[in-house]
Point group: C2
Chain length 205, copies 2
DNA sequence: GGTCGGCGGTGACAAATGTCATCGGGATCG
DNA sequence: CGATCCCGATGACATTTGTCACCGCCGACC
């Protein structure tokens, strides 16, 4: 298909994984890893410096997560296709990823051969989404929460009291309680803490 | 040092990682991967079937986690040394791991060369613990919670109400509140949800 | 034997939270 | 223009939670 090798950027904060992945992908004749990064900002810098064809990004990284990196890459390096590899596949993440132009989204349970194939697909302009994650995302659907409800629920995520949340969100405590109550109601949760857990599981916060 | 190669068992639920790791370790002349597993129970079965010298276990796996597998391996295959590789290094995990006889505990941020060296160390009867994780574990110290407080806090972890916890723990609601209050006090938390978060961060629940 | 700490419980009180009705201001859409 | 929805807020009320004091029982330790 293509005569020149695919130039890859690999970003993952776990050296062991990244190194192993690089070694594995290097075995493929038509793939070459031109840069590696251990954090979100580093990935951006590397992408600008090396102009890879495809960036393989881990979802959870220090600094910026993979999705944010992908979003910024679209501006900084429009020719670079992006794909996300993740351990925990929360449905909401997939949606967010697709919105910022990610072309591949897969769990770390895929085999190396599959990964190489998907990289070629993405390089060629195609897309790939793990079928299981896609099914979950479709069945989970969109977040029923309004933007404000989401904000407030996020602030509640670490166990803060209503007063703290109100202070941090610059809202009245009563309003915060209303949002939390409404969010918990929409999520079918007994209280806001269960709501936080549910929203997390769906990738909505 | 040794004339025969080290026989390895690799257990990790992420195929991509496991495969890449296997490929990487296979490059070392004195290491040979004799079995792989994608879950805790599978790791146990593989260990019995292949009697490896060293078992490299991921901490988070379906079924049984790496520490539980290590604990059972000590009985099922006493000659097999165990080591844990983990992405998130919570201090409490290290302590639990050492208690069940794990000889190596390291984050996934180590390089492949280091991993190979540590495998040799462990095979030779030595131990290795990541310095950073060790420091955290020492500074974090033991859990200040009594066994019962820990139980109740665990039951509170998913946002359950006092009544639910009481029912599940077969305790009076008042007693549950007392334990939660005391646990939150010991942890310096504002409420039980923050206490849950803190206890989680320390690996105490 | 006495002391101490963990366990399990009760009762009471204050504080935080959940729930509901209701209000006004904007934005958006038909 | 009216309908609808999100935003932000207030007030009132019931419920839940947090906190404290205090009880008895048991086991460990000095």
């Amino acid at each position: 298909m293509t005569t020149e090798p695919v130039r890859l950027l690999l970003a993952d904060d776990e050296h062991l994984i990244r190194g192993a992945l690089a070694a594995l992908l290097a075995l493929e004749d038509d793939l070459t890893v031109v840069a590696q990064a251990a954090s979100g900002p580093e990935a951006l810098a590397m992408a600008q410096a090396h102009q890879p064809d495809v960036a393989v990004l881990d979802l959870q990284m220090p600094g910026l997560d993979g999705i944010e990196v992908a979003g910024r890459l679209r501006r900084l390096a429009p020719d670079c296709r992006t794909m996300i590899v993740t351990g925990h596949g929360r449905p909401g993440y997939l949606k967010r990823a697709l919105e910022v132009g990610v072309r591949g989204f897969l769990p770390k349970t895929v085999s190396a051969a599959d990964l190489a194939g998907i990289i070629r697909t993405v390089r060629g302009g195609g897309r790939y989404v793990d079928p299981e994650l896609a099914a979950e995302a479709i069945s989970a659907g969109d977040s029923p929460l309004t933007p404000r409800e989401t904000d407030v629920l996020e602030l509640a995520a670490d166990g803060a009291s209503v007063a703290e949340i109100a202070a941090r969100a610059a809202l009245s405590p009563g309003t915060v309680r209303n949002y939390l109550s409404s969010a918990a109601g929409k999520l079918g949760a007994e209280n806001r803490h269960a709501a936080v857990r549910l929203a997390r599981e769906h990738g909505w916060i």
